[in-house]
């Protein structure tokens, strides 16, 4: 990197950190605001219906509800920053601890789905662009179109019904069959990793079997998006003069496609993959409900059904922060890695 490149990098890094901070601040403002909107009296939620006036007043003071909104917001911010998201009504653990316990499951599923999406989606997109207008392209467009018109929860249900209920090919809901639950100690929370590390291969196989159906279904959704964007990027590049120049040098068609055009889309593709990952994390609320997958999404929906607003908001904050973080990070990486912008 040239000397101004280094300066530019730090400037962009500063921009990224600034954007991230501001957006996260906005997110906390929104979750705080939502928390204030609850028609339920938050004090009653803590002290219960039968508390005396005295206890009620004391609790109100202790919760800081007598202060101005701005002050309450600052208190809230301080709590969030220190990791105090409140206590879950259902589990009575700290919400943060709950979230940390459930997060890896969501990560695991999203990662598997994205890997499938990239491994299948990128080559499909490249092929569709190379064969533009011909049948591989048409098929891909239809497949993609179905992919993002499909309600995920419905696809999951139908998939379960067919591949587990009718055909018995796939494992049922949940991460592991009952009985495998406590064999492996959770070190990373990702069962595949933990069981591999512990050498418990039967657990590993079982976990993998349970990952197949939700992973493939989510992978399909991820694939649809990634393939479409790859196709779009590649079509742009394949019409460029430098691709013709590569052919003139003696490169074969596919050599020009993968050796010249593809390197030009890798940077925007990173952004696309990141966006896809982030949206999978977000969509987890629905898929985990269908597959009874013990991740963040399921935690949020269960808390929702139990009117545990603090847990819902805590989960929202975590999903939101991760989502925002990934999006902004991808934006930033894009700016850093595009050589055309390096010396700008």
């Amino acid at each position: 990197m040239s000397p101004d490149g280094v300066l530019g990098f730090f400037r962009r890094l500063g921009g990224f950190v600034g954007s991230l901070a501001l957006t996260l601040l906005g997110l906390t403002a929104v979750t705080f605001g939502i928390g204030r909107f609850i028609p339920v009296d938050p004090v009653l939620a803590v002290v219960g219906d039968h508390a005396t006036r005295d206890i009620y007043d004391k609790a109100r003071l202790a919760m800081g509800l007598d202060r101005s909104i701005a002050e309450q917001y600052l208190i809230y911010l301080r709590k969030v920053a220190s990791g105090d998201l409140g206590q879950s009504v259902i589990t009575s653990h700290s919400i943060l601890a709950d979230l940390m316990q459930f997060f890896p499951a969501t990560l695991e599923l999203s990662t598997v789905a994205t890997v499938i999406g990239v491994a299948l989606g990128v080559p499909a997109g490249v092929a569709a662009a190379a064969y533009k207008g011909k049948w591989p392209d048409q098929i891909l467009r239809v497949v993609g179109l179905f992919g993002y018109s499909m309600p995920i929860f419905w696809l999951g249900l139908v998939g379960l019904a067919i591949f587990y209920g009718r055909l018995g090919w796939a494992a049922g809901p949940g991460r592991l069959d009952v009985g495998y639950d406590d064999i492996v100690t959770a070190r990373t929370g990702v069962i595949l990793v933990d069981s591999a590390l512990a050498g418990e291969w039967e657990v590993f196989r079982n976990a993998a079997a349970h990952l197949v159906l939700p992973g493939l279904l989510l992978g399909y959704v991820s694939l649809a998006y990634i393939a479409r964007m790859t196709r779009s990027f590649m079509i742009d590049q394949l019409s460029q003069e430098y691709v013709v120049a590569a052919r003139i040098k003696g490169r074969s068609f596919w050599g020009a496609v993968w050796g010249h055009a593809f390197p030009n889309i890798m940077v925007p593709l990173i952004t696309v993959v990141g966006l896809s990952y982030a949206s999978l994390l977000e969509g987890a609320v629905l898929t985990e409900s269908v597959f009874v997958w013990p991740g963040l999404g399921l935690y949020i929906t269960r808390s929702l059904f139990n009117a545990d607003m603090n847990a819902v908001l805590g989960g929202t904050l975590m999903v939101g922060a991760t989502f925002i973080g990934i999006n902004l990070l991808c934006d930033f990486l894009y700016k850093v890695f595009d050589p055309r912008l390096r010396s700008a």
């Binding site: 954007s19 957006t23 909107f37 179109l145 018109s149 019904a161 999903v319 989502f323 999006n327």
Partner: protein, 311 residues
């Protein structure tokens, strides 16, 4: 200037098609209608877009004529004797766990879907236009602040926030609509701003300003109309996503409440019996899928017509 109609100068009868597609329109209305006609022809040439249009029209028709489509059956009347009946001559789509006719519920569910889509559009487009055009036209710190706010909302996860919001406000269609709109408006602000920035420097805007038009008038009467086509294209493309989000909320029990028929909620209640009575959950889900597909196809077609460089 009036034209004297005399025997030597009889009124010219111009066929409607010629008038619409004329290269030299003589009035604003002719120009606008002409563009619309040309757009429709271009759209009609695209079979996928036509299918999309048909689906959307079918949705509107079914919603409007729901009682007729349902064969005048009630979507909420229970018939526990005939619960979970398979599709048959009596009940084309079968019955759900409370014996309600699924065809009727699907047809009335179209009303809910259409309502949500329309309400969100009515909220989101004006807000986006207002924010975007103001930011683009006024520039400076107004632009900076408005765009910052837009960017922040743009970065938020739509479904999760809609969920939290609905959870806080309580279930119901109105709350679901507000919840979805809160995170759906930013793209429109961006589009409007981008268009405004390129238009604001043109001579005709300068001319209007010189004539003494207030900022409000410039924005509302001159800039906004030019942004509308992009907003409409984007709106159509987004509708599929909005429908899916709304259905997701319904699936989680937020949004329309029982006994109102809503497709997402229907899928949710059909969950428990999915293995044996597959139709209860499958059919409403299929409806969501088809409608979403229709909007995607139509949106793609509209975009090809109005913004061909993005194909």
């Amino acid at each position: 200037m009036t034209i004297e109609l005399t025997p030597e100068n009889p009124p010219q009868v111009v066929p409607l098609a010629h008038w619409l597609l004329s290269d030299a329109p003589t009035s604003r209305r002719q120009a606008v209608l002409g563009n619309l006609t040309r757009g429709m022809f271009a759209l009609a040439a695209n079979p996928a877009a036509l299918i999309g249009l048909l689906i959307v029209l079918a949705l509107v028709t079914i919603a409007a004529f729901a009682p007729l489509v349902a064969g005048f059956r009630s979507p909420i009347e229970q018939d526990l004797v005939h619960r979970l009946a398979a599709p048959s001559g009596d009940h084309w789509f079968g019955t759900d766990e409370l014996g309600r006719d699924i065809l009727a519920r699907t047809a009335y569910g179209a009303r809910v879907t259409l309502t949500i889509v329309m309400l969100v559009s009515i909220l989101v487009a004006p807000i986006g236009l207002a924010v975007g055009t103001t930011a683009g036209y006024l520039g400076g710190w107004v632009d900076a602040i408005l765009m910052r706010i837009t960017d922040i909302f743009l970065a938020f996860p739509r479904l999760v926030l809609a969920l939290a919001f609905s959870a806080a406000l309580g279930p119901g269609i109105e709350n679901a609509v507000i919840a979805i709109s809160l995170t759906a408006w930013p793209p429109y602000a961006r589009i409007a701003r981008a268009e405004t920035v390129s238009i604001a420097r043109s001579d005709f805007i300068a001319a209007v300003v010189l004539q003494g038009a207030s900022t409000w008038r410039v924005l509302f009467r001159h800039i906004v109309p030019l942004c509308i086509s992009s907003v409409i294209v984007r709106l159509t493309l987004d509708m599929a996503g909005i429908i899916l989000t709304a259905a997701g909320l319904g699936f989680l029990g937020l949004g329309a409440q029982p006994p109102t028929a809503e497709w997402g909620a229907m899928v949710s209640t059909g969950r428990d019996v999915i293995f044996d009575q597959w139709w209860v959950a499958t059919i409403p889900g299929l409806a969501i899928f088809i409608v979403s597909l229709g909007f995607n196809l139509l949106g793609d077609g509209l975009r090809d017509v109005f913004d061909p460089k993005n194909t």
